[in-house]
């Protein structure tokens, strides 16, 4: 201690202090950010996956995303988007994109599972990013009620409380979530595809994401206890139904009841 206090007026002390401060801040930041960062997933991919993925990428994706996925004017760089982003975009058919527009539409996937995995391996090898979630988070055995609360607070304003989808500005939209696999829901949350914000692990914990998936799968399986759900679009479809079907049938009856006289 004495040595330290003696050297505190040394010409290099200020620099040493600055270095120390920077190291602590940087270290803390690194720790904090790794909470949000899925581990670079290299274990499940082998070198041949990466190699094959690179070839597929050059043939199918590089036109827009550039050779080496460094991006071009037509598409963003994919360095650091992670395997989860590739698995979501390619696995749901959104990529390769059908056409330029406000948003990529879901369509039948263009690559099979192996090819998707190889593409994911290639993109993941370019830089660390969110990885494909583990099976344990997708078992749909979380707390549905807690998931429902998270969903209503974080997701319902775009995707609708019953996950029926909703409109965003200028032709963009939040899609309906029925028939979307738990894996793709999870990947969407961690990567924020299209116009969706990223819900990282500090925002919604992996267990919370598991709860949300459980909730969505449970309301999908429950169906509509009250009869046909009319698209789960709320009062608009109910109003249309009562005006067209309800009043329509009643008008038919009134015509029948009064048809005997002229």
């Amino acid at each position: 201690m004495k040595a330290l206090s003696q050297k505190r007026r040394h010409p290099l002390a200020a620099i040493a202090l600055l270095l120390m401060g920077l190291l602590v801040t940087g270290g803390l930041y690194a720790v904090a950010t790794t909470v949000n960062q899925a581990k670079a997933d290299t274990t499940s991919f082998n070198a041949s996956d990466v190699g094959e993925g690179g070839k597929l990428f050059a043939a199918n994706c590089a036109t827009c995303h550039g050779m080496g996925a460094s991006g071009s004017q037509a598409g963003p760089s994919l360095v650091g988007v992670g395997a989860a982003a590739v698995d979501f975009q390619v696995g749901t058919g959104r990529m390769p994109m059908q056409m330029n527009g406000p948003q990529a539409y879901k369509k039948p996937a263009q690559f099979n599972e192996t090819q998707t995995k190889q593409l994911a391996a290639y993109v993941a090898s370019l830089g660390p990013g969110p990885s494909i979630p583990e099976e344990g988070l997708l078992d749909e055995k979380g707390n549905a009620a807690a998931g429902g609360e998270l969903f209503r607070t974080n997701c319902a304003m775009c995707h609708n409380a019953a996950a029926a989808g909703g409109a965003l500005t200028r032709g963009k939209f939040a899609p309906a979530l029925a028939d979307v696999s738990g894996k793709h829901i999870y990947e969407a949350m961690v990567t924020g595809p299209q116009n969706m914000p990223v819900f990282n692990d500090a925002n919604v914990s992996p267990e919370g994401k598991r709860d949300i998936i459980t909730f969505l799968k449970q309301i999908e399986a429950n169906g509509s206890p009250g009869g046909a759900d009319l698209g789960a679009l709320g009062p608009t479809s109910e109003g249309l139904f009562v005006w067209i079907a309800g009043l329509g049938v009643i008008i038919a009856f009134t015509i029948w009841l009064t048809s005997r006289t002229s």
């Binding site: 429902g148 304003m157 409109a167 200028r170 005997r260």
Partner: protein
């Protein structure tokens, strides 16, 4: 009545036990007299006359299903944790009101069905009132002596909307809570007193813990009582005025042609109640409405996509959605003496609804002033025979529909894959242009239909049979109409513009000039019904053709 009648009068002696009970009651309350009077009351038969009945029957169904719901509903905002059988909400914190609504839906036998009956009946109630009013407007049934009954009907519409909105808010779910928040915002936008009204209504800051109980009292006590009172007034006036009828042979302003109430009409009306009940029950059984379990308990922070009010409040929500926050650099918010004046909420929330209801309530008097028509009308107008009135009605309805559609702008955007912004821009344009286009198109269509009627009255129906005359000319044979059918096409009033008339001082004042101008606007374009002389002339023309045809047959 001088002699005691007990012994001499040929007293009626009932032969059966039931007969003697009936006679006993009749001698004390005089039911047979009432029945004789009402049973002979004549009602004209037309399908469009039955929407008022649909509204009445929906209201009866609402009373019955609503009573069932009160047995199980707890109008309290006490916090509780859900312990019922719907697992996606297990243990979620919620109000007792939402908890009991969920219990009605999932744990009370028949509860969900009754909830859905109540809600579908409510939608049908307001819809049938709306269609009934459109029928009354477009046929001119609001004219003397029925102006006051038209106003009572308008009050009923407002009460029905109030009843609907208070009921919609009761389950305390996320969707209705969002709606309540919008109402709270509109109230707070009222200058100076807005915040005080809001605090009074909610018993403090929104949402508070009082609003559900208060809305419940309004919903099950005050508003239904007022609706009942208005229905009694409405039906009383129908009996006093007698029912209107469509024009036809033998029908005039001095008679009513139709069926007596008893037994035919009473049986039909009674049966129709069960038809309406059946339609509502089928809808409730097969189609879900207001799935509150999807929306979850109310919490002021989340707002779901696709949040709309029930259809009858939709036009107000639509107007709010159409209102721009700023136009270029022009703002709609001002701070005056420390009070914020929020015109971008106040204008769309109150002005369109204010205009619609003001015109609706005053229209009978406006038309009466313009036409100076002080006669009683019991024969209805066919909408085409009052082109300007019909055009005004369609313009108003178009305006309403634009706002109505705007309440679903997000669903229009997602379902038709168009930009939400474009939908809003188009609807904003239509908000101003739509009624104008609708007015002119409707007026022209009505006049064209009148011309068609005149043509048919004069020259008969086109048969599609083409005949070649001996000199080579081709003509189409027109079949003459029967007297009865022709009456419908010629037997209507076609008022001409009334020029300005000087008052008792010999002066044409400004008000009278304005009236004359409006009268010209109303009746300038008119197609007069065919006169007897014209019909006679046309008839002669047809006989000429027929003889020419006969000649042709001979020449073969």
């Amino acid at each position: 009545m001088s002699a005691p009648s007990t012994a001499e009068a040929p007293a009626f002696v009932a032969k059966t036990k039931g007969g003697s009970i009936t006679d006993f009651v009749d001698q004390r309350v005089g039911g047979s007299g009432i029945l004789r009077e009402f049973g002979r009351k004549v009602f004209p038969d037309h399908w469009s006359f039955m929407f008022g009945e649909v509204a009445l029957y929906s209201f009866v169904i609402l009373l019955m299903s609503g009573t069932f719901l009160t047995f199980f509903f707890d109008p309290s905002m006490v916090e509780t944790h859900y312990a019922g059988s719907y697992t996606p909400l297990k243990n979620v914190e919620m109000s007792a009101a939402f908890n009991s609504s969920l219990n009605i839906s999932f744990d009370v036998r028949g509860g969900l069905f009754m909830r859905q009956v109540h809600h579908w009946a409510a939608l049908l109630f307001v819809a049938s009132i709306g269609v009934h009013m459109l029928r009354v407007f477009f046929t001119g049934a609001f004219r003397k002596p029925r102006e006051m009954n038209w106003v009572v009907g308008g009050v009923l519409l407002i009460l029905a909307m109030a009843e609907g909105f208070t009921g919609y808010s009761l389950p305390d779910d996320l969707l209705s809570g969002n709606g309540l928040r919008i109402i709270d915002g509109v109230i707070k936008a009222i200058p100076v007193i807005g915040t005080y009204i809001s605090f009074f209504l909610f018993g403090g800051e929104f949402p508070g813990t009082a609003i559900i109980g208060r809305l419940y009292m309004l919903h099950i006590l005050l508003v239904p009582a007022l609706i009942l009172l208005m229905i009694v007034l409405h039906l009383f006036m129908v009996v006093v005025h007698k029912h209107t009828q469509y024009p036809g042979p033998g029908r005039n302003d001095g008679n009513v042609v139709g069926y007596p109430l008893g037994p035919v009409y009473a049986a039909k009306a009674g049966g129709f109640f069960f038809i309406v009940f059946g339609v509502i029950a089928l809808m409730a059984g097969f189609f879900t409405i207001n799935p509150i379990w999807n929306y979850g308990p109310y919490d002021p922070s989340p707002v779901s996509a696709g949040t709309q009010p029930d259809w009858y409040i939709g036009f107000v929500d639509g107007a709010l959605r159409l209102m721009p926050g700023v136009i270029g650099n022009f703002h709609f918010e001002y701070v005056i003496f420390g009070h914020v004046l929020t015109l971008n909420v106040l204008l769309p929330a109150l002005v369109p609804a204010g205009i619609i209801f003001t015109v609706l309530f005053t229209y009978p008097w406006i038309e009466r002033w313009i036409t100076k028509d002080n006669r009683e009308h019991h024969v209805l107008d066919r909408p085409r025979n009052a082109p300007t009135r019909t055009a005004i009605g369609v313009a108003g309805f178009t305006w309403y529909c634009v706002m109505w559609a705007a309440a679903s702008s997000d669903l229009i955007a997602t379902n038709f894959h168009v930009s939400l912004n474009d939908v809003t821009y188009w609807l904003r344009a239509l908000f101003f242009i739509g009624p104008v286009i609708a007015f002119f198109v409707t007026k022209r269509v009505a006049l064209a239909l009148q011309r068609k009627d005149r043509e048919i009255a004069l020259h008969g129906r086109e048969t599609g049979r083409i005949v070649r005359l001996p000199h080579g000319e081709f003509i189409e044979v027109h079949a003459p109409l029967s007297e009865y059918k022709r009456y419908k096409l010629v037997g209507f009033e076609s008022p001409a513009p009334l020029p300005a008339v000087p008052n008792e001082h010999g002066i044409v004042d400004r008000k009278e000039k304005r009236r004359a101008m409006l009268s010209r606007l109303f009746f300038e374009d008119r197609v007069a019904p065919a006169t007897p002389a014209e019909l006679e002339a046309a008839h002669g023309h047809h006989e000429a053709i027929e003889s020419a045809e006969a000649q042709k047959t001979l020449s073969h």
